[in-house]
């Protein structure tokens, strides 16, 4: 069954939120989304040598510090890589 259009469409609030989240990641590290995407692809390539991963659904994120305003001030890169098979090499 086809859903009516208004049910499928994201609200403008969600669109804004999603856009901002991506935008702020690149703002915070001062590099473009394209560069971030290249980093992501390279990480995926390296890990794929050792295990089968879901490269489509992996996420990378840069945060300025573990919790804002406290602790170390160095930014850190988080990669969330879903593993499909730990032992199988793609």
């Amino acid at each position: 069954m086809r859903l009516p259009n208004f049910l499928k469409r994201k609200s403008s609030r969600e669109v804004a939120k999603d856009r901002l989240k991506i935008l702020l990641i690149s703002d915070r590290v001062n590099c473009s989304p394209e560069v971030l995407d290249m980093i992501k692809q390279d990480i995926a390539k390296v890990i794929s040598r050792y295990m089968m991963i879901d490269a489509e659904n992996m996420e990378i994120q840069v945060s300025k510090s573990s919790s804002r305003g406290r602790g170390n001030k160095n930014p850190s890169l988080y990669a969330n890589v879903p593993i499909l098979d730990l032992h199988k090499i793609t």
Binding site: S12, R13, L20, R68, G69
Partner: protein, 268 residues
């Protein structure tokens, strides 16, 4: 102990000056000795929002250059005991003052006031650097819009790089009718994205425009924005003020008569 608060946002037009005027007035109404400093050299506005534009003799640049004494440049607001304004210069530019001059001025004022509020110019250039130079804490004003939030994030990053430990968020021009329709980010969305503590939410209220027209801060009056600003002041003073649920606080009778505009629902 005096506290120096800078009101900043990055983006222009989100309500820095209105916030400075109302928070400052609210703190003075609560019995504190307050001075408001307009650091937007070349584009001064705090004087008109406060309705004190006709009483300016000397300004910030005159003070830092030593052309007058600090006391001569301070305008006393006759409506509130203990409320003073140090206006900015209109005919100079941002390079007329530097960071060490600002620090020196603030240190001088610390002895005489409980709260020093700095109205920061838009942008991240010299004016911003001057405004944050002597401040202890920051109020970051944003609206629930992509551009304002992006700039607020940049500002928060710069404040953190300058070792600010107290950074609080003011979300201005919240429209609960739009939130209900799914067409505006919620308070939680904005706080989540910016990951700093929230100190107040000011609903989009036409009374703010009316108050600015009249040069009379609306903090503490019956309007929604007036109540929201008063709550921010109380939170600055260290009180634990709950966020009002306006859906409940609007009385049955006003609901029936429909006096309140739809956008006046939500929390402040």
């Amino acid at each position: 102990m005096s506290e120096v608060i800078v009101v900043t946002s990055g983006k222009g037009g989100v309500g820095k000056t209105t916030t400075t005027a109302n928070v400052g007035t609210g703190l003075a109404a609560a019995g504190k000795k307050v001075v408001l400093i307009d650091t937007d050299i070349g584009l001064r506005n705090l004087d008109v929002v406060m309705g004190l534009e006709n009483r300016i003799v000397y300004n910030l640049v005159d003070v830092v250059e030593g052309s007058c004494r600090v006391k001569q440049a301070l305008i006393r607001d006759k409506r509130y005991a203990g409320l003073y304004l140090l206006p900015s210069a209109q005919t100079r530019d941002k390079t007329a003052v530097n960071e060490s001059q600002m620090k020196k001025l603030i240190d001088h004022l610390r002895d005489q006031f409980d709260y020093i509020l700095l109205d920061c110019p838009a942008g991240i250039e010299q004016g911003f650097k001057n405004a944050i130079a002597g401040a202890d804490r920051a109020l970051v004003v944003t609206t629930p819009e992509v551009s304002a939030i992006r700039d607020a994030d940049r500002i928060i990053g710069l404040l953190e790089a300058n070792a600010f430990e107290k950074i609080d968020l003011v979300i201005n021009r919240m429209r609960y009718d739009m939130v209900k329709r799914g067409d505006m980010m919620t308070v939680e969305d904005v706080v989540d994205i910016l990951s700093v503590g929230l100190i107040g939410v000011v609903p989009d209220d036409e009374n703010v425009v009316i108050a600015t027209n009249q040069g009379e801060p609306l903090v503490g009056n019956h309007t929604l924005a007036g109540r929201a600003y008063k709550n921010i002041c109380m939170r600055i003073l260290g009180q634990d003020i709950p966020y009002l649920d306006l859906d409940q606080s609007i009385s049955f009778w006003t609901r029936v008569t429909g006096i309140f505009h739809k956008s006046q629902e939500g929390r402040v």
